[in-house]
């Protein structure tokens, strides 16, 4: 029975990947009419979008935002759409994209750069407005995972919601509440592969707890990956997807063991150090192959800054919610992140 289940799952996933093809061929002129499902990245001369698995470079104006409806015309060339033209863009007035935009605006109106973008990145995975210099430094120091939507965000949101709801609600109801919260956050933060991965895994683990089955992390990870590939085979080529799975796998296998070996370190940085070291075991080779470099000091840099990330996320999350109703009060709360983001920026500047 068990064998049949796994065999079937692997078989379907494999079938989907093998039969999956980009629906268009090179050199073909196409018109794409779709919703923007990943936040565009802005630079001086262009904005970069991913539409229907194709990378599209557009003129920087008019600006396109996550969730907008766009019509784009261009010529397919491998995984890119070249000489692309934006034919129309319709702003998404939906509650969640709107809410996301207002939160980011609140951060940007209240704090200077790079603090505002760092906070938008940590809380919402928004990397669109990060300056190029700072982005490069984040990449060089190996802490860029903090500002892209990653599984950590889901873990933090889930942890925060569990902390609140178990006080107020009955267990069964609390779990429903947490699940809804996780998926709302997944949409809010841009629905990137790592977020979807964490949201599925989180949901599986919570539900398993509820129906009284002890879940085994590694198995949950594999099921999640196969499910995602069956739904969207294109993810097999998504670097975020690959990194997310390799990192999580390495964490499951190595983190506890490493944590035990570095008991001498103070508790504040031990967690960050063991997390980073464990993840690097799997991730470093991939980064090296794709980007041609990786920072040997990365685990130390991560250990120095990772402790501040949950604090920044919780304070700015609360500040954002309060700030949309009472801007002044929200701003006062948000200021409390300033010493933390200053430390973060200092470390990244120093090592970058």
């Amino acid at each position: 029975m068990k064998f049949l289940f796994w065999g079937l799952l692997f078989f379907v996933a494999l079938l989907r990947i093998l039969t999956f093809k980009t629906p268009v061929t090179d050199g073909q002129k196409v018109r794409i009419s779709t919703k923007v499902l990943q936040e565009p990245i802005r630079q001086q001369n262009y904005q970069r979008l991913v539409l229907e698995n194709l990378i599209v470079y557009l003129d920087p104006f008019p600006e396109v935002y996550y969730g907008d409806e766009v019509v784009v015309e261009g010529v397919v060339s491998q995984n890119k759409l070249v000489s692309a033209k934006l034919l129309s863009v319709k702003e998404n007035q939906g509650i969640l994209p709107n809410f996301r935009k207002r939160l980011i605006n609140f951060y940007q109106d209240s704090l200077p750069e790079p603090h505002a973008s760092l906070i938008a990145g940590i809380t919402l995975g928004s990397k669109g407005s990060l300056g190029k210099d700072f982005w490069d430094k984040l990449k060089n120091t190996g802490v860029v995972h903090v500002v892209v939507a990653s599984g950590t965000n889901i873990t933090l949101v889930a942890g925060f919601l569990v902390g609140i709801t178990t006080f107020l609600l009955k267990r069964r109801l609390a779990i429903v509440f947490v699940l809804v919260g996780i998926w709302l956050y997944a949409v809010l933060s841009g629905f990137d592969a790592p977020i979807v991965r964490a949201a599925i895994m989180g949901s599986l683990v919570f539900t398993a707890q509820e129906v009284g089955r002890l879940s085994q992390s590694f198995r949950v990870l594999v099921i999640t990956g196969l499910l995602m590939l069956i739904i969207k085979p294109a993810w097999i080529r998504d670097l975020g997807f690959i990194l997310s799975f390799v990192a999580t796998g390495s964490l499951i296998v190595f983190q506890e063991r490493i944590n035990k070996k570095i008991q001498i370190l103070p508790a504040v940085i031990r967690e960050g150090m063991s997390t980073s070291l464990a993840a690097q075991i799997g991730v470093a080779p991939i980064l090296f192959v794709t980007f041609g470099s990786f920072n040997i000091l990365s685990p130390i840099i991560n250990a120095l800054v990772l402790w501040s990330v949950p604090l920044i996320m919780v304070i700015s999350g609360v500040a954002g919610l309060v700030g949309l109703l009472f801007p002044f009060l929200g701003r006062m709360i948000l200021y409390l992140t300033y010493p933390l983001t200053s430390w973060f920026v200092f470390v990244v500047d120093f090592f970058g």
């Binding site: 630079q43 001086q44 104006f61 109106d109 200077p112 750069e113 300056g131 200021y335 010493p339």
Partner: protein, 280 residues
Amino acid sequence: MRPKYLFSVLALITLTVWGAVLAYPDKKLHIIACDVGQGDAILATYGNLQILTDGGPDNKVLECLSKYMPFWDREVELVILTHPQADHFTGLIEVFRRYKVDTFLVSKLNSSARSYEVLEKAVGSNQSRVVNPKEGMVIRLGLIQIEILHPSESILEQKSLDLNDYSTVYNLKFGDFEALFTGDIGPKIIEEILAKNSIELVDYIKIPHHGSRNGTALELLKASMPKLAVISVGKDNSYGHPHQEVLKMLKDLGIQIKRTDEMGDVEIETDGRGFKLLNP
């Protein structure tokens, strides 16, 4: 709340308050030519008062504002757009979106750029007061005085000039300190301004048009005799700015040259008598 959490929150509040107090500005005027690549963005800041002239070609100007303004100051008192070309206005879009801008000094000129519409919209939602500069106009902000030297009414009536020639040119005075800001004006306009005898001796000049040979004229330098000439220019730009002729002119007159492509932000401070270069 458990004592451990309470302690952390109190510690964070203390740190924030100390940070806010330590960020409090000194009692000097600082002028910073921001390193925004090929373009102009110049910030003058005195206490809580800021004047931003142009915004450069992209959002890099935000880094400059963030660096030289206290983190709790979200208000720029005056923004001046010398002329509506992309390397001068694009960065202002985000400035208007993120900061409260009291007054916007800008000529009524049209730009064909799509992004200029976006800027106009951002200015509209900011509810800034929009003022059109005109020769002879004087603006006072605290102890700072701004005298507009250009454009004159006769220039504004001519519709066919190069956008550069409509650039807002002004003298900034603070105590005995004087600085001349020249936008992207060319030799013809320089001649016209000089003919009116409105150029005074200054301490500081922003060299016109990123050091193009179509900007600075020897007569302008001789009339203003600045001690420091600042050139806002991008590294390896495709125009070859700044041009050798201009650099030679400045050298021959013994004027100190500072370039944003060589040293990043160029910052000076003054108490109203002389000035000091802060990043020599």
